[in-house]
Each structure stands twice: as C-alpha cells, then as structure tokens.
Symmetry: C2
Subunit: 342 residues, 2 copies
Amino acid sequence: MREILDIQKQLLPDLVDTMKKRYTILHHIMVSGLVGRRTLALSVGATERVLRAEVDFLKEQGLIEVEASGMRISVSGRELLERLEPLVKDLFGLTELEERIRSHFGLKQVIIVPGDSDVSPHTKKELGRAGASVLRKLVGEDETIAVTGGSTMAEVAYHLTPATPMKGCWFVPARGGLGESVELQANTIASTMAKKAGGRYRLLHVPDHLGEDAYQSLMQDSHIAEIIAFIRGARIVVHGIGEAMVMARRRKVDPETTESLRRDGALAEAFGYYFDRDGNILHKMPTIGLRIEDIHCMDHVIGIAGGKSKGESIASVLKHGHEDVLVTDEAAAWEVVNRLLS
Amino acid sequence: MREILDIQKQLLPDLVDTMKKRYTILHHIMVSGLVGRRTLALSVGATERVLRAEVDFLKEQGLIEVEASGMRISVSGRELLERLEPLVKDLFGLTELEERIRSHFGLKQVIIVPGDSDVSPHTKKELGRAGASVLRKLVGEDETIAVTGGSTMAEVAYHLTPATPMKGCWFVPARGGLGESVELQANTIASTMAKKAGGRYRLLHVPDHLGEDAYQSLMQDSHIAEIIAFIRGARIVVHGIGEAMVMARRRKVDPETTESLRRDGALAEAFGYYFDRDGNILHKMPTIGLRIEDIHCMDHVIGIAGGKSKGESIASVLKHGHEDVLVTDEAAAWEVVNRLLS
DNA sequence: AGCACTGGGACAAAAAACGTCCAACAAAGC
DNA sequence: GCTTTGTTGGACGTTTTTTGTCCCAGTGCT
C-alpha cells in the first residue's frame, strides 16, 4: 500500500493533499450529520467558494446528499469513509509525525518517508530521493552548497537531477578528510552531485589524521585558505547524521578519543562533530572546513538520515538546535518522538 | 491494490487518467531515448503546449533530464517506470478491455469494474455504484427512466443518490409482473430508485402468469393503457441481464416452455425476452410493458450485469445489437472477449 | 411569525491553461 | 563550413477555470 502511494506521489504530487482535503470535508459532514456550506467552510478552514466546489464534486460523486436544509453523507459516502480509514491513517500519520518533530525542534520543514532504512534498502533510496527533491526546491541561483559524506548522502547525490537554478551552483565538501572510504567521502559526493545536477564543484584535499603542526602549515597555504573561505561562504549545507560510536570505529579514531567519547556519552556525529544526548558538542574531528559557528548562521541546514538505529542520534543533533530541515524515515521519526515522551 | 485504486478514484476521478497520461509520456521518452517536445507531442497525441506543461512537471519531479538537444529519462524516471509497471498493467488492462468490447459491439460506452460478482459481493456493490454513476451522468431533466428487476438492479437502486437533474424524473418498471420475488421486482426497484434519487415513480401492477383472455381485458383498461403509454415514452432503460435457464427456473416458467428454450439454445434473458447465442429472440414472457421495438429506438439502453457465469449471456444480449451502454465486471468482460475470439 | 440557517444562481475579478509564434542553440548531413 | 532539421525556452494574447462576493428563495426550529 505504501509502495503504491509512493509511486503515485511521483506522478501526482498533490494527490495526497487533495485526498486529505476531501477526506476531511467528507468526514466533517459525516460527524456533523446535517450541516450547511458556510458552517462547514468555517470548521474545515476553507473559503465558502472553494468549499462549494468541493461540495459540488462530492455531490457529483454521490458521496453526499444535499437538500435545501443542508447536506448529509450518503450511503456510498459512509462506505467510502470506512474503506478510506486505513489509507488515511497512513496519509495523516506521517504528516502528523512531521509536524510534531518540526514544531518541537523549531525546524522549518520535516520530511518523513515511510519505512525503515535499516531494514529496507528501498527506504534508503526514497530517503535519497526526498533529500534530492528538497534540495532542488531550496536551492537558489549561483549558490554554494556544502555537503558531507556518507552512504545516505551518496544516495542523495545519485538521485539529484539537473534543474535550471542549479546550473550555476557550486558543490563543495563541508569539511576535509574525515577518514571515510573514497566513494563515501565528501569530495566524491560533491563532485557526483555537481555532475548530476549540472553544476560545478571545488574539492578540498586534506590527508586524514592530521597532526597539529601539519594542520597549521596547511592553513598557511594560500590555495587551501582560499578554498576554505569559499566553503565558508556557503549558505546551504546538506549533511548526514551518524551514530557516534559507529562513526568513530569506521573512521578509525584513536582508542583514547574513542574511550573518552564513550565515557562522555557521545551519541551522534555530524560534519565531523560529536554530540551527546543533549546536543552538546563533545569532540571535533581534527580537520578543516566549515566550523560549527559557520553552520549556525547558515540559511539552510539540511540533515538527512534514516533508520531506526539512528533515531537517537538524529534527536541529539536536532537538540543542538541549528537544523532547519530534516529528512528522515518513519522508523527514525518514531524513535525521535519516543525520546521526546520519555 | 485494486481496492486502494477504487477508493482513490472516488476521491479523485481523474487520477487514473492523469497517471495514464504521464506514464505514457514518460514511457515514450524512455523508448525514444532522446526526443524533442514537438516530436513527442505528435506521437502521444497532445498539443505542444499541454505536453510542454507535462514535460515541465516531469522535469520538476526529476523524472526526466532536459538538455538543449532534447530530453531523456533520468535514473529516477527509469526506476519509477519499473515500479509503475504492475500498476499500469491494471490501469490499462481494464480500459483496453472496455474499448475492445465497446468497438466490437458498437456501443457508446463500456464500464468495467474490477473483480467477479460471482465470487465477491463487494464487486457486485461496485457494479451497482458504477451503474448508478453512469445513470446519473446520462439522465436529463424530466426524463422517464424504465428499469427492470433483479439483484443487480437492486444494487444500482441502493447506490443512487439525489442529483439535481433527477428531481423531475419518473422511474417506471419496464415491464409488468415477471415472476420475481417482491424485493427484486421492477416495481420495487423503480420506487426505490425514485426515493433515492429524489424523483417520482409510477408502478404497473400486473399479476404473474397471465392468461391470454385476461391479458386482453387488462389492455382494455384505460388506466393500464395510460401507464403503458407512459412507460413507452421512456428514453432511457436500465436493465439487468440474466442467464436464460436460471431465470426460467426462478420465474417458474412452465415446463414446456422451459424445454423449448433449452432446445433452442436460450442463453440470455433481459426485460422478459430470451435470447440465443446469436442475439435472436426466442421467447417473450407473457406480460405487458416495453416491447422490443420500443427498446430499439431508445436514446440510452443501459445493460448492467456481472459475474463470470453471466459472460455468455451478456455477449448474447450485446449481439442482439441494441445496447448503448454496458456496465459489467472484469470476470464477465473477459468471458465476453473470449467468446469473440472463439 | 420570526430567525438563523440552508443551497444555488449570478457576476466580475483574478488566475491558470492554452494556442501560437519566435529567437537562440545543437546536431547531423552534405 | 554551411545548411537543414531538430531542440528548448521565452513571450503574449485568448480562452477557460477558479475564486470572492452578493443575493434570493427556501427550510426548520422556536
């Protein structure tokens, strides 16, 4: 059922909205018993005229009966509502979830795709598609977009398609070497995105596990300094979110630091920073690029991550409080919400 | 899957059309590889401007990539098409079927609901809903609508809803007593329809199994003659279709006639007439009302019947050649088509 | 009888869709 | 290299649809 809805949404994006609207109206009519147009318009929050069009439609479909004294639901209408119930539960469930997370963390937008990325690879693809879609909508002309690495970001890159406003955009890695494998590195992702979207890219080549002195001398290099300044000029950053300990292991963080992270209760990782349960920064990976203060004053900070296992991590990063858009999946979203309650 | 589509069609009737249109375009783009707007418009049969809007939409959705040299399908687009395949098979299967039957018998319209009325009561309901819907669309103001009896017609009556143009309509039985049980008699159906639709009705009370002399004296009665003339003035007739032998048994036709019907290969029954395989009339029930010649010159002859078992009967009646609209279900439709091939 | 509703007709204004051009550009054939 | 044929995307007037806003004739309840 979800599957078919996902497909339809691609061919008819406002299908869900229209169905919701008409369901709401029909449902209102049912619970009201006998109700008038103006009263109804008020209670569903529509102008009289548009509601009238909807009512005409429902009448045409034989879902309601309208007499001079008002309108009531018909037999077919009642039947339809019953059959619609499971569908609507899905339809509304996710949007309700989206709104709950959105308002609690004060985000601009939350997008939840159905499923669990941990279990189904297809959900991860959907996540990528949703991420690509939101980026396409948010991006302006000649903008710089900073991206991070990770498998989810790779999926986003894969699903990006050329859009006119993206032609002049620059894709850059948010931060330098973070110890990822090549195909999941921010550099790779940035260049893939640029190719897919028809934009341009600049890379930041930094060796992993940089020592303090090497770090300093690197910053002296005018070439590097220039590209870093360029990156810091980005107004949009798109990043994945990872589980702290998983990321530490994958990136071969040294044992002492790992132990310290564990001791301090590190939960999440995003663009090279490690966060605890309350969204505090515990540790910063020793590399260059966007600093946390750069991210704080961005126009659009877009976090993309899914899977039940990442729920807690996502919540931690949201708690840090500087995200604008979250793209996640249903399983992770429920985890986030559950943590709100406890 | 069918279920969900049925539901959606009620809330969004042109969902299927839109999906088909967009699928067709996308599919065309895929097989064409790289194709231009005008070429495409020609091959899918749309004007350039509307196709342009569709193309803009597909681009917006990231399903196609458009360059200066033409447009091609994107990765997401190809993926979507794959996932869409089973859905489209359903979507198109029925309409293809409809068109095949329509053109072969020269009908104005064929409507096929998914399922098999023999097996699923729900399909029978859908049949009733579809029948009610087509009647609602076809009916004009102050019209007379002749109806027959039967369980399918009862279902149609049940799903009728008040529509403005129907307010002034008269519902009348097509023919007098045909030996049905009370709740399935044409009289009952006519009055139910009138009540449901907000129209008026006139009844024709004729005893079953009328003798020849009684028949004659009945016709003399000015009251009866007047209502019969009224019935014959109908421009719309909605009727069920039955299997000849089943109907004969149910209506307790006398053994000699039954045997004669069997001998002559009676297959179908409709409004009191029995038809053979080639649509010839074999027998006429001895009662009064619409004659076959009245039906031949009607504006809209609407036949409604479903279930695999009725497929042959439906084909026979269609062969008779004076139907305008057929409402049936998928199982019966396939039977009809299979008989065309053999 | 009066009141607070109702649906539906009417009509102008605003918005969206559409048909029809054209300019700038890309690719293929010659 | 040039022509021809195809491409996209912009522009613009026309038509159609949607929307906002009245008003009128009813209906049901008190």
